[in-house]
Assembly symmetry: D2
Homo-oligomer: 337 residues x 4
Amino acid sequence: MLKVGINGYGTIGKRVADAVAAQPDMTVVGVAKTQPNYEAHAAVRRGYPLYAAIPERAPLFSEAGLELAGAVDELVAEADIIVDATPSGIGAENRSLYESHDTPALLQGGESADVADVSFNARANFDAAEDADYARVVSCNTTGLSRVIAPLQEEYGVEKVRATLVRRGGDPGQNTRGPINDILPNPIHVPSHHGPDVKTIFTDLDIDTMGLKVPATLMHVHALNVTLDERVTAAHVQALLEQENRLYVIPEGMGIDGVGKLKNFALDAGRPRGDLWENCIWGESIGVRGRDLYLFQAIHQESDVVPENVDAIRAVMGLEPQDESMRLTDDTLGVGI
Amino acid sequence: MLKVGINGYGTIGKRVADAVAAQPDMTVVGVAKTQPNYEAHAAVRRGYPLYAAIPERAPLFSEAGLELAGAVDELVAEADIIVDATPSGIGAENRSLYESHDTPALLQGGESADVADVSFNARANFDAAEDADYARVVSCNTTGLSRVIAPLQEEYGVEKVRATLVRRGGDPGQNTRGPINDILPNPIHVPSHHGPDVKTIFTDLDIDTMGLKVPATLMHVHALNVTLDERVTAAHVQALLEQENRLYVIPEGMGIDGVGKLKNFALDAGRPRGDLWENCIWGESIGVRGRDLYLFQAIHQESDVVPENVDAIRAVMGLEPQDESMRLTDDTLGVGI
Amino acid sequence: MLKVGINGYGTIGKRVADAVAAQPDMTVVGVAKTQPNYEAHAAVRRGYPLYAAIPERAPLFSEAGLELAGAVDELVAEADIIVDATPSGIGAENRSLYESHDTPALLQGGESADVADVSFNARANFDAAEDADYARVVSCNTTGLSRVIAPLQEEYGVEKVRATLVRRGGDPGQNTRGPINDILPNPIHVPSHHGPDVKTIFTDLDIDTMGLKVPATLMHVHALNVTLDERVTAAHVQALLEQENRLYVIPEGMGIDGVGKLKNFALDAGRPRGDLWENCIWGESIGVRGRDLYLFQAIHQESDVVPENVDAIRAVMGLEPQDESMRLTDDTLGVGI
Amino acid sequence: MLKVGINGYGTIGKRVADAVAAQPDMTVVGVAKTQPNYEAHAAVRRGYPLYAAIPERAPLFSEAGLELAGAVDELVAEADIIVDATPSGIGAENRSLYESHDTPALLQGGESADVADVSFNARANFDAAEDADYARVVSCNTTGLSRVIAPLQEEYGVEKVRATLVRRGGDPGQNTRGPINDILPNPIHVPSHHGPDVKTIFTDLDIDTMGLKVPATLMHVHALNVTLDERVTAAHVQALLEQENRLYVIPEGMGIDGVGKLKNFALDAGRPRGDLWENCIWGESIGVRGRDLYLFQAIHQESDVVPENVDAIRAVMGLEPQDESMRLTDDTLGVGI
Ligand SMILES: NC(=O)c1ccc[n+]([C@@H]2O[C@H](COP(=O)([O-])OP(=O)(O)OC[C@H]3O[C@@H](n4cnc5c(N)ncnc54)[C@H](O)[C@@H]3O)[C@@H](O)[C@H]2O)c1
Ligand SMILES: NC(=O)c1ccc[n+]([C@@H]2O[C@H](COP(=O)([O-])OP(=O)(O)OC[C@H]3O[C@@H](n4cnc5c(N)ncnc54)[C@H](O)[C@@H]3O)[C@@H](O)[C@H]2O)c1
Ligand SMILES: NC(=O)c1ccc[n+]([C@@H]2O[C@H](COP(=O)([O-])OP(=O)(O)OC[C@H]3O[C@@H](n4cnc5c(N)ncnc54)[C@H](O)[C@@H]3O)[C@@H](O)[C@H]2O)c1
Ligand SMILES: NC(=O)c1ccc[n+]([C@@H]2O[C@H](COP(=O)([O-])OP(=O)(O)OC[C@H]3O[C@@H](n4cnc5c(N)ncnc54)[C@H](O)[C@@H]3O)[C@@H](O)[C@H]2O)c1
């Protein structure tokens, strides 16, 4: 059993912890948190040993009636691998801690690419992590783009990708983030940094992206255009995408006309936290004009990177090959609709 | 096993169906739906026989690959009791159908009080439903107010209640409802109809309410003021409210400063659909000035009436007395934090 | 003085009335309204004779203390031309009324193209309205696209346009419209109808559009990609667009990073109702990759069609040639920043 | 002519500058800004001499093509009185600068009461500022409460005020502020600090307040309950409030059912920036139960304190008595609907 420690138990960290706990070949040896809030209580209830991410704050935990297993460096020492899910930029600061214990680690998409040896997406470049000690699981948006580009490229060849990313302003619990009533070109510079980030996975891809931020919390939505190398039919593309386990092509007639109903659908299906690990592509939106393919997909920013983290652990530790890892992850979590 | 039919399988209906299915003394004999959308598919997946609420639309279901068990009148005939969870006003129209089959029924809070023989809240007036064939489970807001008023009245006596109801504009999936960026006095007339609705439960209560609608979807929030008959301490009130199983007093220090984090908390706790069946009262907000008690509570409009419906079934059918019914409902669903 | 009647005095109608009133060659002979609400009071305060759009409702106006000049057919008889600014679909119904009085009319973008003899944009096809009696001023989005495409096409040639339209859910006063917390692919089919609508202005253009709706009220934002016939620099494009009086290229360094600040800017500038008649293009966002041009523009849905209506009146009535009309409109209103 | 300097030219500062410029007995000698953004350009366009609030940043202004008249201390030296409209807490820091020049100053509601010699509301305690050098114009919410409490107290006597303040999350341009989809009890402690703040104006008032924050930007809405000393009719109260020039009682039948339409109404009326300097009380909402009065009012946070600042200048400088000052302010600005 591989011993996995999670540093940073927030939106991403708590989901990765649960996903790791569901694997037959891994176990959660502990999670590190900065504050004894409701998430800390939930961690304890789930049986995860709790570590203080900031040692000086340890007393706050005992005051809150939460027993600590130790401080974060003890977790790093104890673990075979760390999943760092701290806020953007903190992961980079933490790398030296991991190095000092010779503990490999995963970093998240909020870090810049050069913080890690490799940027990782299970579908697109699993094997690239083979020799890496530090792998960066790319951001929710890059993950979402990579998963849909990979099969298109393999099947038809891709001349150019143009994507407009209509991004949620904050996650549901982030009540200090805006905007409240605005549409923000964000970043204002075009093409945005999202394209180059996708190129950490597909080195030679021609891709231009534009990003916006809007007052919504549930999911991002991508308006995607891919100019393919050959003419195809929408039906052929739909069939291709339906074969991918981490893509959910929403069937016409389901009455799911937006992101709110999509989340209801996930909650009705009993998904933990209503998570949608899959890209959700509206079947009706798949349209073709000449060699230009268009589609809308919704990306659940809180969870799409979760199966990727599990696979990245296996890739970095050399536990399983790509197909076997992805199959195992998907089976244990219930990925694939 | 009492045979329960659900007519109207939307936000409330689907939750009531699952709650009934979890009871040892009841079973879901079927749910009636108007359209073969994602909720219909979920009903089938959960094993609930599906009936066409509008018989002429039956072919749409087969086209969607959904097998029907029949039309709604067959469900009414088959059931010992119907829970009507159709949109406001439709329940009133449906009552004659239920009467024609001599099938008792529950109606929901969207109906006016005179559509039923009695208005029902499990904590406050369970026994009033004993001889009723048609009971109305009061609205989410009235349920939320009743649950907190009952113990205050019993323990201290209530001179007057003043409540401002800051209501969500629509449920998460209702994407055509607004407002987007507005605060609406709604209804504009003050005191609002919510007060009189509470008086269908507490006949002699002095209560004035004011309602507003805001651009949020997750929960309602009540700013509550109760002038008690005696002076009390905040600590005493808090202890009193903490004894109630359907009130959750959010402990200080949990870092739950709003409704978004509250829902995260419920999702982390593994609640189905992230439901919060309990009134959620912020412990820190319980304040006393003289005989005036103040507090904030959040009410999960999609689910707080669900345990009430289960109890109302038992009350109308004479299955169990109040305490036993509420205990059973809470145990099976997991109500009580 | 050309006598202009306005049928439908809402968001668009009231602005067109004020714009007409500001012209030296036209006068507002009356506005027709359905209800005596605050807008009706404002019309009277501005001195516009008020007509009942629905004759049976005339008594409501007198009850509200508003004197009527007559019913809508009298307005049609009195006017040389009608600007119909009624809700989508009503304009089509009204056409026969205008025909019965031999009164030419403008219709708005909510109507389908075949309701009018011609679709109109002042910059792109002014002369096409010369022989028309019924001209449709294209929608806010189509107007916004046309204004930026025209100079690009003339200067560089356009191979293909791809635009993602991130649309506001409702206007600021439309408090029943949603979504509250959602991102809606809308229409779900891709390419959307917006592209074909642009082709009513540019017959041979190759254009694909994708539309979304988000919880914001102030302006639409377009993420625009134009593949040009030749390679250009961003600076050259910026200079080109800055020459256009109905395009405002927001200078870098103004600190206007979204639509909210843009509206503040307009209000600070003393614009009536804070209107932004110009497309607002973020200068920093103008980016070029090969022959691909990218930019973000904000479109003020409530007002960008207003100068177009004034010009369309002149075009249909043969009052002035294109350049003279646009110059006159812009000078009197203050268009051009 | 009294020379007024404005330090902090943001939401409040720019409005106060325009209001001062409209007075016959005052002139704007300059405004101090920290950055050369769109507001700085607008200041220059309006002819206000521009000073650098942070001297080291002066070069940024020249780079942006904006000529500076000097640094903020020169403005303080030049002015007879300073209106400090910097962000909360900065005013307190600035007081020593004003003192060092013996320049009296107004501070805004974001400062704590003890930063100034007196807290000020024109209607309720104008004369209290007579001997003060530093007066704090109370916050938008306290101003709104004070204006409606004063006449009620004078006419009927007030036993107790209970107010729920449903506050906008941020101003329209503040795109980093949330919440996006939440309702926040804020502050969580009840009664909130707003009540004590009102008591800086009405020392002996019995008032309890509860505050919330919601995802809206346009105005605050107060759900107000006042227990009067005597029984009254709603009509009598309405007539009383209609006499107050800074209260606008929205007539029934105007179709103004929320804050969005209220702002449209102000924009249609040609108000600068769509400002509503008056409390806007919904006439239909004025309701009476025994001695309990209820009403809803909307408070335009960006502008209601603007006439109060003008009056506070006169009060502190001893220019005019209360009635004359308020009349002058209202006449020049156009306050009173
Ligand atoms: N939320 C998303 O949408 C999303 C999606 C994909 C990737 N990511 C990336 O995942 C990473 C984590 O984001 P998140 O959304 O989970 O953030 P979060 O704020 O929800 O969680 C971060 C957690 O780290 C803790 N933390 C803060 N400082 C710490 C420290 N010094 N040491 C240990 N823990 C610390 C916080 O208390 C919190 O529990 C970021 O790189 C982010 O960019 C986020
Ligand atoms: N959603 C809430 O916040 C909430 C809270 C408490 C009570 N209620 C009350 O519960 C009732 C149901 O509300 P909801 O929110 O679940 O509505 P909903 O719209 O989510 O669900 C209603 C369901 O009834 C179906 N339906 C429509 N017409 C029907 C008919 N003629 N016959 C059978 N089914 C029909 C709809 O297709 C839908 O599936 C209403 O009275 C409402 O006021 C709702
Ligand atoms: N608001 C926008 O964003 C926008 C932008 C561009 C074009 N348009 C188009 O302009 C037209 C008007 O839209 P709007 O936003 O001004 O609508 P609106 O609802 O604000 O105004 C329409 C007005 O017409 C009145 N009306 C309704 N029925 C009528 C009838 N039978 N006869 C006369 N008047 C009637 C209404 O009372 C209202 O005053 C539509 O075609 C719309 O698609 C709207
Ligand atoms: N906006 C409101 O709703 C509102 C309502 C009533 C009272 N107030 C109070 O008015 C004051 C100003 O608020 P605002 O909303 O206008 O803020 P704002 O942020 O819109 O404007 C403040 C201005 O001060 C400038 N500034 C920042 N630091 C400065 C410094 N050191 N010296 C000089 N200028 C500096 C900023 O650049 C900005 O232009 C605060 O006390 C606030 O609490 C605000």
